[in-house]
Amino acid sequence: MTAARPAPSDSISGIARIVVALAGALALFGVLMILKGTNPLVAYADMITSTLTDEASVEGILVRATPIALAALAVSIPARAGLINVGGEGQLIVGGVAAMGVALALDGSGPGWLRLVLMGVAAAAAGAAWSALAAVLRLAVGISESVTTLLLNYIALDLMYFLIYDVWKDRQGSGQPATRALTGSERLGLLGDTRVHLGLLLAVVATVVVAVVFRRTTWGFRLRVVGGNTEAARRAGLRVGALLVSGMAVGGALAGLGGYAQLAGAEYKLRSGFVAGYGYVAFLASWLARHRPVGVSGAAVLLTAIAIGGDSLQLDAGLPAASVNVLMALVLLGVFGFSKKRAAS
């Protein structure tokens, strides 16, 4: 694939094509709604007002977008070095698992803030290890990291289920597979009297830092060189292996932090369905914004907002909540399929 340097107007057309795709998607989905006997104009009006102007809903978007944005950055960083990380889902999960593991192991001993920090460190380390494994396997045995990260998703999921099903199951709990709840000091603080937690700040800071790192640091520059032409990078004396592994690991660490944020900020327990599907939405968010950090986080918010529009679709229009996936898919199809035609990958 040609690594064409973005033209100055590239991002404007980038936003424009998202707008066009969104309009087209709304129109197509509107037709489907008519087929189901729903007035699309009313449904959209309800959906937009209740999703974007209702406080609870906006909080819901920010809460859910937090782990998705972090996992999306976990796609963007390796992508800069030409690696494809489909493992956001698994890295989110092992992040949550590691954080919970630390909370359970410490069992309330030590100062609260320290436990919270250690949980985050463990989550980042677990996410990094989970993703770096894929990079190492690529270098050592030549298996594509997109294959291994995908496989590692299922292994992470089964690992979590294994733990919550009996090993970590709350013996005082209600009988369903779930850990105990994190207690007060093990939880991330909330912003004001909202449901939004400090994980959001983490995601915002991470976005800015990644953007700066991409632009201003040697590491960011070298990642890009490796992504542009591995052979040339090698001839230029860059340590390609170390760069690939570190790019993957840093990404995985962010996804791990996403799992930590979801656990310590929103769910408080590991239970079945933890971050289900978030990693795949994150992957799409990164591609939607062509792996540019700020855009990626914005795309995470956009896709989350559409998903949460499903609540309105269900409560106001009486359509199944999951049908909002059609709208999300149509937007993405519009962007992926009808942007400037690129050489077949």
Partner: protein, 395 residues
């Protein structure tokens, strides 16, 4: 460079819009969000308790509302509320997972004006309590779970004593089986389910001392593929009467009919799916209790009412919302009469399916002599009784 700034600006403005909206609605709803932390409830003026004067009622279901099972029954209950209170708008949300997403759906219902919320799945309790804490003016009731700590003034759990009709169905199963092997497919080892399995075995054993109940869990309220596999495994063990504690019941019911086995229903009347093999069953009739909860909350008297607690109702109170389904063709009149008599026994003050002493699987006493009350029964069902084959996952 310019492009990056543009996208940054877009994000910032989006965030600002969000923040602005947040602030805006906060100021307008400040009265309910901040001041009602006790003072408004305490005034006791008519129409000031949690849920008082609500125009809308919200219902959350964990699965689809036509699952031949738990969610269908709850949905029908919500529609009866609609009939009884034509002026109320009923909001229903299907397929709401048992996690933080449920919190958001409830928040949206409240933002839309609902002040009475029914969170109908067992695992909806955590999010329900979270929402109840944030909205003291909203009555949030949860179906089937148990609040261990102090029950908040605007919350509570409610349920029927499910194990009573299951015990009676167990009698029919114990009579119907030829192989003396019954099968039970369940979702999670939660107290109400263990009580059901035990009651089923105890009912069957009361008429058939050689009977055993084989159990398989699926760790999911409705994973039809796992259900299909569980049913096959039980049939392979020689089970000829199967029952279940799953939200959706069609797959196992059809599997039994097709394999020429018998089936005892749960949650809803699925006898049409198994005209030959249907033995008996139990089903929900929620309309009355839902309507009473709604009426209580609307009048402002929720706090301190029987629903502001872990409320259980059974045969002894005369109003169990969990009722017997119709009998199948193989149940003879003598068995029906026997079941009717047993129903009278467990409806009396000194009757219960768990009237002790009852021995556990391990031969130790699980229930001491005497008649346990409803909540004790639920709490003590942490192990299987003698005759159940299978182990409860640790935990």
């Amino acid at each position: 460079m310019r492009s990056r700034w543009l996208s940054l600006a877009a994000i910032t403005s989006l965030a600002l819009v969000a923040a602005a909206c947040g602030d805006d609605s906060k100021s307008s709803s400040a009265s309910s969000a901040t001041t009602s932390g006790g003072s408004t409830v305490a005034t006791g003026a008519p129409g000031s308790g949690p849920g008082a004067g609500s125009k809308k009622v919200g219902f959350l279901f964990v699965g689809p509302k036509d699952d031949y099972g738990y969610n269908q029954a709850a949905y029908q209950g919500s529609q009866e509320v609609k009939k009884k209170f034509p002026n109320l708008e009923i909001l229903t949300a299907e397929n709401v997972p048992e996690d933080d997403n449920a919190t958001r759906v409830m928040e949206k219902m409240i933002a839309d004006g609902a002040k009475i919320i029914f969170a109908t799945s067992y695992g909806h309790l955590d999010p329900a309590l979270k929402v109840a804490a944030a909205h003291p003016d909203v009555a949030v009731v949860q179906q089937g779970n148990f609040i261990k700590d102090k029950v908040p003034a605007n919350s509570g759990t409610y349920f029927g004593t499910v194990y009573e009709p299951v015990y009676l169905a167990g009698i029919a199963a114990g009579k119907a089986t030829k192989s003396n092997k019954l099968g039970y497919v369940y979702a999670f080892p939660i107290p109400q389910t263990i009580a059901n399995i035990n009651a089923f075995q105890l009912g069957a054993a009361s008429v058939n001392p050689n009977v055993q109940t084989f159990v398989v869990n699926t760790s999911n309220w409705c994973d039809v593929a796992k259900q299909a596999e569980a049913a096959k495994s039980l049939f392979a063990q020689g089970v000829d009467v199967i029952t279940q504690h799953q939200d959706c019941t069609a797959t196992i019911t059809k599997a039994a009919e097709e394999a020429g086995k018998m089936v005892v229903g749960y949650h809803a009347d699925a006898s049409s799916l198994a005209p030959k093999g249907w033995v008996a069953g139990s089903e929900w009739s929620w309309g009355e209790m839902y309507s009473d909860i709604v009426a209580t909350a609307l009048s402002g008297k929720f706090t301190g009412s029987k629903y502001n607690a872990n409320y259980r109702v059974g045969y002894q109170d005369g109003g169990n919302p969990f009722v017997q389904s119709k009998f199948g063709p193989m149940v003879d009149d003598a068995t029906k009469k026997l079941i009717e008599e047993q129903k009278k026994v467990i409806s009396s003050k000194d009757g219960s399916p768990f009237k002790g002493p009852i021995m556990g699987q391990d031969g130790k006493e699980l229930f001491p002599a005497g008649v346990p009350d409803y909540l004790t029964t639920e709490a003590k069902n942490t192990a299987f009784v003698k005759g159940v084959v299978g182990q409860i996952p640790k935990g």
